[in-house]
Subunit: 213 residues, 2 copies
């Protein structure tokens, strides 16, 4: 088993590694034992030499003529990507999207455990049906002591995005996963990832509209 990577991997590699994992997990279900980089290349339309390069970050070597062992590759990728570890997160903002993400049990399969939610709406703060406790954001310092987390998932209204991120970071959060369309600024040393749902919608609408001309 490989340890989780301590190397700062390039973003394009981090984008491709989960594709390889998704693909080899499919092969696992099909009871296929070995896969070559040529096969992965054909399935995913990624250059075979690029695949070999990406996989060289892991300590897994393919065998000549046989390729990679599927089980070892799947396990190695999941470990290397941190998907088999448990990473604790807070949901900052438990409105429509925040609740939806709390309910999405899929995230925990990939190593993300949402351990608490924060909001300012008293109706939301009192909720007990989401499977995790929801607190007023004012209590984040106190909760950080009892039930700490390193990742803050930001799903607040845009107008509160920067302030909420600042509060979470002040309380000890080390990484912000931003689902708002607002471009949050963080100090150096804080990890920042943007999932731009609205940019993707804009892309889809624009391309669809161009088709319909």
């Amino acid at each position: 088993m490989n340890p989780v990577s301590n190397i700062i991997l390039p973003e394009p590699t981090l984008r491709r590694l989960p594709w390889y994992l998704a693909y080899v997990e499919i092969l696992q279900k099909q009871k296929i034992e070995f896969v070559s980089s040529t096969q992965i290349s054909r399935a995913l339309s990624v250059d075979a030499s690029q695949i070999a390069k990406d996989l060289s970050f892991l300590n897994i070597k393919g065998k000549t003529r046989i390729g990679y062992e599927v089980d070892a590759l799947a396990e190695g990728l999941a470990d290397f990507l941190g998907f088999s570890q448990c990473h604790r997160a807070y949901m900052i903002g438990c409105g429509s999207l925040g609740k939806a993400l709390i309910r999405d049990s899929g995230l925990s399969k990939y190593g993300l455990e949402i351990v608490a939610g924060f909001d300012i709406d008293p109706n939301v703060v009192s909720r007990t049906d989401l499977g995790v406790p929801i607190y007023h954001i004012d209590r984040i310092y106190e909760i950080m002591e009892e039930n700490p987390a390193s990742i803050g998932i930001l799903a607040v209204p845009s107008g509160m995005a920067q302030e909420s991120a600042d509060i979470a970071i002040g309380a000890g959060i080390k990484a912000i996963w931003n689902f708002t369309p607002y471009r949050v600024k963080v100090a150096e040393g804080i990890v920042m990832a943007n999932t731009s749902i609205y940019a993707h919608l804009a892309l889809i609408f624009n391309r669809l509209n161009s088709l319909e001309r």
Copy 2:
């Protein structure tokens, strides 16, 4: 009011325009009437000349010394991005993530209306509590006649991603919004957008891990 864009916009522009919209919507709430590209630039850390260039795709011109009218800019951006139109979508795969996205009422504010869901699990297909009807995927051709949609949101297990996309496209879907980690292939002329939740998780875990060294 501007019509929705018929121009194929570059992806980086489509990524930035929603940032501008999120920012001017905050200004609107603060009852601010005008904004300059310099102000937007400072708030979002985007080059002012880039902002002027991006906004030139819209038919909105800033006034010298005063800048852009906030209300007109917000309305213009929302219209231009297609967020004020209604785009009909199917949820393909109504498991954990699919259900969560159906429940996320935020998407409809950005012009995406999920009108039906599809699954293969009889327990899911019979559900009536999600606010939209859920059908067996075999019925997609029939439902496309009664209650059509142009966008297919893909939230199935990776192993079913390609097959499900093929079925949806066969039934008449024109755009695939892929939430699975599998790299789905589509024919030319079909719009494809990937929201790589797992790649973002991998990025966060990798960067956090490097910090903790």
